[in-house]
Symmetry: D2
Subunit: 362 residues, 4 copies
């Protein structure tokens, strides 16, 4: 069972609520002898951090990570390395504004987990969404930064490829653009368009969905395992755990449903360094096992459910009512899902890598 | 770890190859006192069975299931019931035609798992695809039939909603049509169209993809658990383990990316028997927990990779070559995925039901 | 969760009742390319097989194992090898004598699981003990035979070291004697004594307990993992799952409670091939990780609860009554636990080996 | 896999080293609506806390626990309750004396995990034993305090029943004495003897082993599950994960090996409130399932390996040397294992309780 844990060999257990004291996680199964400092983790956290543009929530959280365990100075080199024991990570909450919760305390916000948590547990932490808040994903990003170090030869990158009905032009894909706009968008022109488009969404008090694509390059052939430990099955599960995600696809994905066998199946030819596929409709996975091509995953993020427009709902006592969700929210929560998706990809790959190669470094 | 097992409380472990002696599974965690005979399982197996129309593989397998353990006549009533101990199920392979494998033994079929199994294990069972064959899914369907009995008030049904670029007309959806055409298609007119359309595909030696939708009605609110045991995450993982599946979506799915917050978030009103949602973009899951509405999952199935047209590939020695995959194949492997998808849905729901209610019947 | 599964990377799932159609198991996670035939497994099964002397149950079961999946002839060598896919094993029950169950059907046999199964499940398979019968251990022995092949350099052997209050003389330990008496006893003189002693027990319709010791030689240093995956913790769990086992100890075990620190802690010296311990009170495990010394586990087996002397008990309706358990039983069920203990040791070691080295052969 | 996690439904993941910043754990699966404050946990921690008598290590740690997540004031009652989300617990290390580690940094202490951690990971945290220190058990005790609250009708108590060769007189067992002496000893006279006896051990710079008994009363019949989720198997695994434990037994334990069937099997009679057993050699478990009688587990703790007498060992470079382990140590580390054993018992029972009854409170 794994309510708040994911992974088998590379295992991440997270805890913490949006407006609690702190959030954190325990990364178990990381091999020893990997150089690791807080700075290694902070970089990824900073990419996910809120409040960096007007297109994400204005909550101000420094998201400073502390390593509580699992590392030490190497006895000979003095370099701080992992020891093979669990790595405890802590991020304090600092901007959990002591706001007035009366509006949401007794009403179920449509599209949120309010109703279902209440149905399951009989109560819910209404303060900022409690455990169901996207704030939890900060701990995944921290774990993902460690996962990346387990896979030194694998490069995991993500991009926003669609907002609302507007898709990027794939011919203009430029990874270098990702860091130059507030959308992680690889298409420079579309990024400019998104700026205007999202301003309109934001000012109208609405929100909009998005599609994110994560690509892992350098994944060796042979990762994953039939039948129920398929690499793509684990990736689908991982992405679907991210807040607001409603769909996941690998390679050609839903597009594969429209293809014929000869269009879809990637042909092969001998290359200089092994087998070469002539296309990658498979998204780097066949039969649940990696092909050696880039692993390509896309996921759809629904629009933020917290909007300024009044919505019909019911309250905890079962009476009809209306709700307006004020407060600090992302007009397009999909944007900040990019580093989260990268982290999940990195964690899944690290997990499978360790399943195949064993948990020990030596 | 679960290479060939899925589920936690309702656990299914499968074994067997396409052209081996037999396939089978062990269903562990089934509560006691549930009436169960082989006939209860056979019905679902018959719906998945190959060779029932010209649109599926012509392999003839009776798929007769034997219960090897886990049931006994109730001491008082004499009715055969489950005992709470593991249920062993066996299906013998009878039509594993002793064919000539020389064409595929040393060549990697594009789109198949041949290359990746070889990359992982150093060898592969080339006889009918071995373990990577869709034949394995028969055991899932058998397990799913038992899962259905764990959930007497839940109705799980599946339908084919798209072949190639052709989607059904949802206004014409009629569950009664499902059993009247060889496609599990709920749109009578589209089913007639598919007949002609697929004949063309079949005769040209090609194949085509499809999209399947599985709907579970009667699921109580509160099933599933944050954060990494989300009901939709488990469903995504389950569907993605089905052969040839490349995408999974819940409710509005990828369509949610194109919606605004006010379009997407399902409003609520008080109904006669509890809370009523005014729409179901969520697909019955919010925050990973069921809402009480129908749980709706769709998945995309790629076209069968075995086609009669020559394709470029490499052989085990690394030389360039071509391959034509003769033999008995489904022109649209998505069709028979309908009962398999139902089985996976039933198993995931049974698993979550037992997580919440405990494994014991009393 | 693992009701009927043990292990993580080397996973064994068993099923079947004493008087059902068949018993069997699925061995998942076995690396590919390991030569494996039914004969490799049959040898260990024959050692556990009942009816081989007057000191074990007279039930006659050939215990012929069938491999249903997971092996194939190697494409080049033709040798039958594992493929990395799950190995299904089946053993048919042939001597499930259609006896009169009226005596035990409604009464709880003291010392048996009758009462607890009924308390848990509301019914129990009274035919030969159903799932709680030691017959289930045949499938473990089969799995253990495969585990041994995963660990070619490890030798796992077991011995009976005590029956009732009578312990063997360790100075007379001779592994060669194990196969020469019906008790797996390494002390020739004590084996002769046991023959007379057990005849007395048997003729009086009584039964007696025993202690078994399992030794694994050739285990490399570094297997196991802190804190909750300790090798000795997994061994203790494994042995305690064997029917009738009530105690487990590693190395000096309970004797360590009586030792001082200087007596107990094994000193070290440099040897020709690495570190050498001057004693092995640790039983080959320190901090949950193997030391490279022999891993030594002992477990206590309670006397068979089925005896010919009348015992006070209650029936299913809650009334006081008496019971005499006729039928075929082992006067000392500990004897046949020797190959079972070996199998569990082999499975645990294989599991840890694969955790550390990964599941793949290449 | 669970290197640093135990339990399935009630899951505890621990982290932290002896001389690191902090230790802590995440308790996952705790049902909602259970009143819980730090004070509820602190009581058990205080019982395990070092430095409370001259018979335990003189390290001074307040062991103040902080709850980081998983609780909130109930919206109606204002009482702080669990929410069903993971409970993060943190205990800061305050007395990790910056001592001179040169003596142990490069030498393997006999009886410690130094050699095996180094064999496995290539390095080890030599500062106070790092992760292998008994300090980790503080987090278990904290988790156990929560487990107790999951089981309001179960009373879990532990006692020290043997030090060295000296066993308590069971006729003198008085639970009230447990809190009145520094040994958790239920035999007043023996406790007085232990005071003198242990002073001798301590002053000679030696150490001694012990045996601990844990008793759980009020456990309902029917907890546990065949075959590999047996309650006693899980208890054996749990106890064997405690530092320095070398043996575990249930009920009559190793003594059962010396009994005949009629002596060992507990007879039954009808009582006022259900079935009554006339003895409890089974220790409350038959066939891996609880009988409703007290669950009785004993475990042997080896003597502290850190002693003041010089011992032969090797260093990291493979050279022969000697070592004297100075510093603050428990002359009988078994004493403080009493609350740890209680915690493990409580956690295992809570885990099985939730497996059977489900994870949700409603």
């Amino acid at each position: 069972m794994s309510f708040n844990t994911f992974g088998h060999m590379f295992r991440v257990t997270t805890f913490g609520e949006s407006h609690g004291v702190a959030i954190g996680c325990v990364v178990d199964g990381c091999p020893p002898m990997i150089p690791l400092t807080e700075a290694d983790i902070q970089g990824d956290l900073d990419r996910r951090r809120p409040g960096q543009s007007r297109f994400t929530t204005q909550r101000q959280e420094p998201d400073q990570v502390k390593i509580l365990s699992g590392v030490m100075a190497h006895p000979e080199t003095g370099v701080q390395v992992t020891t093979g024991t669990p790595i405890g990570l802590l991020i304090e909450n600092t901007d959990q504004r002591s706001k007035d919760y009366s509006e949401i305390k007794d009403k179920f916000r449509p599209g949120h987990a309010d109703f279902t948590y209440e149905a399951k547990y009989g109560l819910r932490d209404y303060r900022g969404g409690g455990r169901s808040s996207a704030r939890e994903t900060a701990t995944r990003v921290a774990a993902g930064a460690i996962a990346r170090k387990v896979l030194p030869d694998v490069k995991v990158r993500g991009a926003l490829v669609q907002i609302g009905p507007h898709k990027i032009d794939r011919a203009k894909w430029d990874w270098d653009e990702i860091g130059k706009n507030p959308f992680f968008c690889p298409d420079k022109d579309k990024a400019e368009f998104f700026e205007t488009y999202l301003d309109g969404i934001r000012k109208s008090g609405s929100s909009i969905g998005a599609v994110i694509e994560i690509v892992a390059e350098g994944v060796p052939a042979g990762l994953g395992a039939p039948i129920y430990a398929k690499l793509d099955s684990d990736l689908a599960a991982a992405m679907m755990t991210i807040n607001a995600v409603k769909g996941v696809e690998i390679g050609a994905g839903f597009g594969a449903a429209e293809l014929t066998g000869e269009e879809n199946a990637d042909e092969m030819r001998t290359g200089n360094d092994g087998t070469r596929f002539l296309s990658n409709h498979a998204g780097g996975v066949l039969g649940g096992i990696s092909t050696g091509q880039p692993v390509v995953v896309r996921f759809a993020v629904k629009p933020t459910s917290s909007i300024l427009q009044p919505r019909r709902t019911v309250d905890r006592k079962g009476a009809d009512t209306e709700i307006v969700t004020k407060g600090r929210h992302d007009p397009c929560v999909g944007i900040r899902a990019v580093p989260v998706g990268e982290a999940m990809m990195a964690c899944v790959l690290a997990d499978h890598f360790l399943r195949d190669r064993g948990q020990v470094g030596r």
